[in-house]
Structure formats: C-alpha cells, structure tokens
C-alpha cells in the first residue's frame, strides 16, 4: 500500500477564475505532507484535485497532470469513482451520514460499493475503528446514530469511514479546525499511527500542527486577491520552519503576514 503522487503543471479553475496556477511537487509514499498558506491561496483546491473532488463543483476544471504511481488521474478513460476508491478524504467539518448508525457509517463505503458479507463487514468495522482510535469509546454502542457522537469522535468516525475502504492515499482538509485541543491531539496521534500505512496529505491553518505531524511542507501563497495561488516553497518541514529559502515563507511562518 501507499503511493507516490507527482503533480506537474497543475492549474485549477472555478469557471473563469484561475484559483491556483502551475503547481509542481512530488509527494513520497508513506509520508505526511502538510499544505500551509493564507486563506484563498489554493491549498484546499490542490488537495481536492488529488482525488478529483475539485470537478464536483459546477464549472470547476483542472489542467495539468497528477500521477498516482505513474498513472495520470486526469488521463483519458480514468473513472473518478475509481480514483476516489484509492484516494480517501476527510473534510473540515465532521460529516457522518445522519441516517446511519456508527456501524453503518464505517462500512458505508464498502456497502455502497456492493460488499455484502457480514463477517467481512464486522471485521472491517472493528479494524477501522481501532485504526481510528475510536473502538474503545464506541464498541458498546455501534448501533447508535453516528451524529450523536462528540465533534472529535465524529471526525475520528469519518477517518474510520475513509480508511475502511482501504485507500492508498488519505487527504485531510483542515481536519482539526472545528475541534477542541484535546480532540485535535487525538487526531494528531492518529495521523502518527496512520503514516506507516498511508500517504497522507493534510491542509492546515495551524503551523504548529504542520510542524508536529508532517515530514514535508508545501507553502502556497498569492500576490493579491484575485490572483491565482502558487506554490512558493516545498521542502522538508524542518527546513521550512527553521531555514526557509523564500522571504515570503519566512514572513508567513514568523507571523509577519497572513
């Protein structure tokens, strides 16, 4: 498992608006990469191009290439549904399915893709919830609604749901921004645990978080409102936070702007 991601010449549009321009970067397998930058710089947009979620919005389109183990996600004949089975995603706000129990939420991806075997489903629920550090808290109430959990538990439920389909890559779009510090810590511990099996890309506004969880960091920024966002610097996290090459990176991480 786990997969190398190579992004080359990636430009993403919302209708006529160019949101992010000419991004080139390579993400190593089984690593945690953080995307940081001010609001509107296109880091979430780039993240969403990695599992073809960008184009879900009306008028949104992508130019350039995203290679997943050498295969172009935007090549002819590629089915976005199959892409998303390999590249899971966790969103900013926890979004468990409100009509489903905890159990059903975890296996939603499997069940909606036609897996019926009860023993396999049971096994995968336990595995995924343990993987998401949630099993001990919910094992006695698997049939209760997923929406009844606390915010942090819901987010870990969403992570369990994402890893239950056994993706190669896990994308996280500001997964802790709606959570309190304790729940954030739980998610960060979880990321440490998941890094051995998945390629993880995380978008965050929290620079301490980026420095805590990631090995490599990409800094995105934009000149002024209305301009497309660009990749400013991409390097190891220690390099970015201790000795950045670019003036703008240094200004951002030292809190002088953004």
């Amino acid at each position: 498992m786990a997969t190398r991601i190579e992004i080359s010449g990636l430009t993403a549009y919302y209708g006529k608006f160019k949101a992010v321009a000419d991004v080139n970067l390579t993400i190593e397998p089984k690593s945690v990469t953080a995307f940081i930058g001010p609001s509107g710089c296109g880091k979430s947009t780039v993240l969403r191009t990695l599992n073809r979620m960008h184009e879900v919005l009306p008028g949104a389109r992508v130019e350039g290439k995203v290679l997943l183990d050498g295969e172009d996600l935007y090549g002819p004949g590629v089915d976005p549904v199959n892409v998303r089975r390999n590249v899971g995603m966790v969103f900013q706000r926890p979004n468990p399915f409100p009509t489903m129990s905890i159990y059903e939420n975890v296996i939603a991806g499997l069940k909606l893709n036609g897996v019926r075997k009860k023993s396999l489903l049971d096994e995968r629920v336990e595995e995924s919830l343990k993987g998401a550090n949630l099993w001990d808290e919910v094992k006695d109430r698997l049939n209760r609604p997923g929406a009844g959990l606390s915010g942090g538990q819901q987010q870990r439920l969403c992570i369990a749901r994402a890893i239950a389909v056994e993706p190669q890559v896990l994308l996280m779009d500001e997964p802790c921004s709606a959570l309190d510090p304790i729940s954030t810590l739980a998610i960060e511990d979880l990321i440490q645990k998941l890094r051995s099996s998945y390629t993880i890309v995380i978008v965050t506004h929290n620079m301490q978080q980026a420095s805590r969880v990631s090995e490599t960091t990409a800094f995105f920024s934009l000149e002024k409102t209305g301009d497309p966002g660009r990749l400013v610097e991409y390097s190891t996290t220690s390099q970015i936070f201790s000795n950045p090459k670019e003036k703008r990176t240094e200004d951002y991480i030292s809190g002088r702007f953004g």
């Binding site: 979620m53 879900v56 998303r84 390999n86 995603m89 009509t99 991806g109 909606l112 893709n113």
Partner: protein, 353 residues
C-alpha cells in the same frame, strides 16, 4: 481602616434601575374584565349579534387597554413587546377557531350514522327516502383511485425532483420548474376536463376509476415535485461530497444518502399531496361518473368515491341523505388521518435511534 473602605458613591449618583416597572397580573385581569364588560355593553346598546365579532372586539379592546397601561407604567419598548405578543397569540387562536369548528361540526353530525353497517354496505337498491345504505363502494373507490394516483405520481414526481436538484442546470430545469409552478395552481376541474376531453372523448376510453386516478395524478405530481425538491435541497452538500470521496457513484449517492436523509420531509410532502387529492370532487365528477354499486375493479366500469358521494348525498333534500353525507365526510377525515399516521410511523422507523 480608611484604606479598606470603598470610596463612597459620588453625590447625585442614580441607581441603575435594572428592574423597571412591571404591569401586575391583577391589572391585566382588570383590563380583560373591562374589555369584556365594554363589549357586552356595546352589544346591549347596538344591534351586533355575531359571536365571532364579540371575540374580536374583546381582543381589540384588551390590546388597546393593555398597550395604554403598559406605555404609562412600563414604557414604550415593553408596550410594543406586549402588543405584538398579544397579536401573535390572538392570531393563533383565531386560526384555530375554524379548524376546531369544522372538526366539531363533522364529528357531531357524522358520528350518529357512522357504524359498521354504514361502512360495509353500498347504496345499491336504496331509494331516495330510504334510511339505510352505506359508503363501502365509495371507500373502495377512493382508496383505489388515490392509491393508483399515488403509484403514478409519487415515483414520477420524485424522479423529477431528483433531476431538478441533482442534475438540472440551465434552461431545461428552469422551464420544468416554471411548468411545475403553473401546474401547482391548476384548478382541479381543469385536470378533470383534460382527462374527459383527452382520455375519454378523444381516445374513446370508458368512465372508470382509473380515469379518475389519471386526473388526480395530474394534481398530485406538482405538489410532490415541489415538496420533494425543497427537501432534497436541504441535504447538505457535505454529505454528497463525503459519499463521493468514498468512491461511491453519483446515482448510488442519491439513492442511498441524499434521498434517505430527506425522507421524513418527502413523506410529509407526499402525505399532503395524498390528502389534497383524496378530497377532490370536481375531477372525479367528470371521470369516474359515480355509481351506487360496489365495483372493485378500477379499470372497468364506473366507480364511486367519498367526495363524490358526499357531493351527491348533500345535494338531496331528504335528511337521511344529508346525514349520510356528514358520516361520509367524517370517514374521509379519519382515512386521511390514518394514512398520515401510518406514513409518519414508517418514516420514523427508517431513522436510527
């Protein structure tokens, strides 16, 4: 010693006046009694008789008295608050009056004829002055016609709503939306006339229960589309995205995530549509024709229906016929209420607890 004491309040300091003055309950009671007394006096000296107007005048006098007293004691802001509160509660009570009045009237007059005999017999062979007879044939007709109409209108309306919310962009969906709006305001007799002119006269089909359900379908579809559309729009996009991100195809996402999330609201909308068409008389008048005998087959021969039955019985001069009409009206209300309860029960079972 002097260091620990608080500095004294500066001279001329005014209290914060956090409490304010409040109208006491006895004062409000006195105003209410005064309003009633004044209205009663008004009724004695003038020639007004209406009981509804009595309530209205009392309400009006009470809110005037209350507002004046409140302005004097509590100030303008509290007075406005009291006035609007009274208006809101008053409007609620006024809206309740016709509802309760209708229910009471129907139960009062319908209950005396409503028994098993009435529910299990048709009007076959009952003469104009005979006291017997029943509504079995009309219940069968209504259930079959409304059932068939629902079978056609609900899936069709749901599909249209799904198209409008999930797929429709641009011109086609705007055109469809516009025509759905136009159809929502369609007078029900036009739907009956259309089926009469097109299905029965032009295509040469006989008067049947099915012809009636076609007319009811025309009336049901726009209601189902509108309500289902509103409910589907309320489903947050985050749930759709969560499903897409799990590698679930779009149609499955709609079927397994979007529609179930909106289901309780959709059921309510469908029930409103069913309740609306179950009481329709005009379109059935022109399509099912009405018949005094039991006809179980909606595809062959004339049928009756409860609204049609009420219409024809209520139009007759004999008291026995008018009693039958009231009892049939009560039955219709009970049937719709039962359907509503069943639908709500089914929808609540679909939820996780």
């Amino acid at each position: 010693m002097t260091a620990t004491t608080m500095p004294a309040a500066p001279a001329g300091h005014q209290s914060l006046n956090l409490r304010g003055q409040t109208l006491r309950t006895p004062v409000l009671g006195a105003i209410a009694v005064g309003a009633v007394a004044l209205t009663a006096l008004l009724y004695l000296v003038t020639s007004i008789h209406s009981r509804i107007q009595f309530v209205l005048i009392v309400l009006l006098l009470f809110s005037i008295g209350q507002t004046v007293a409140s302005v004097l004691v509590e100030g303008a802001r509290r007075a406005r608050d009291r006035l609007v509160t009274t208006l809101v509660y008053g409007s609620f009570l006024l809206a309740l009056i016709p509802l309760v009045a209708v229910l009471v009237a129907v139960i009062e007059r319908g209950a005396k004829r409503l028994d098993m005999d009435f529910l299990t017999h048709s009007m076959r062979g009952i003469g104009a002055r005979d006291a017997g007879g029943g509504i079995y044939h009309a219940i069968i007709g209504t259930l079959e016609q409304v059932g068939l109409a629902s079978l056609m209108a609900v899936p069709f309306g749901l599909l249209v709503a799904v198209y409008l919310v999930e797929y429709g962009t641009g011109r086609i969906s705007r055109v469809i939306s516009f025509f759905v709006d136009v159809l929502t305001g369609l007078p029900s007799i036009i739907a009956g006339l259309f089926v009469l002119g097109f299905w029965i006269l032009a295509l040469g089909q006989p008067f049947t229960g099915f012809a009636g359900s076609l007319a009811l379908t025309i009336l049901m579809v726009p209601v189902v589309v509108r309500s289902a559309e509103e409910m589907l729009k309320l489903v947050p996009d985050e749930l759709r995205e969560a499903s897409y991100a799990l590698g679930v195809a779009r149609w499955r996402t709609i079927l397994k995530i979007v529609v179930p999330t909106a289901l309780p609201g959709i059921v309510t909308g469908v029930m409103l549509a069913v309740a609306r068409v179950a009481g329709e008389t005009a379109p059935l008048l022109l399509t099912v024709f009405g018949d005094n005998s039991i006809n179980m087959n909606p595809f062959d021969g004339e049928q009756s229906a409860l609204p049609l039955y009420i219409y024809s019985q209520a139009g007759q001069p004999q008291q026995v016929a008018i009693d039958r009409a009231w009892a049939a009206a009560l039955t219709l209300i009970i049937i719709i209420m039962l359907l509503n309860l069943i639908a709500r029960f089914v929808a609540s079972r679909a939820k996780v607890k």
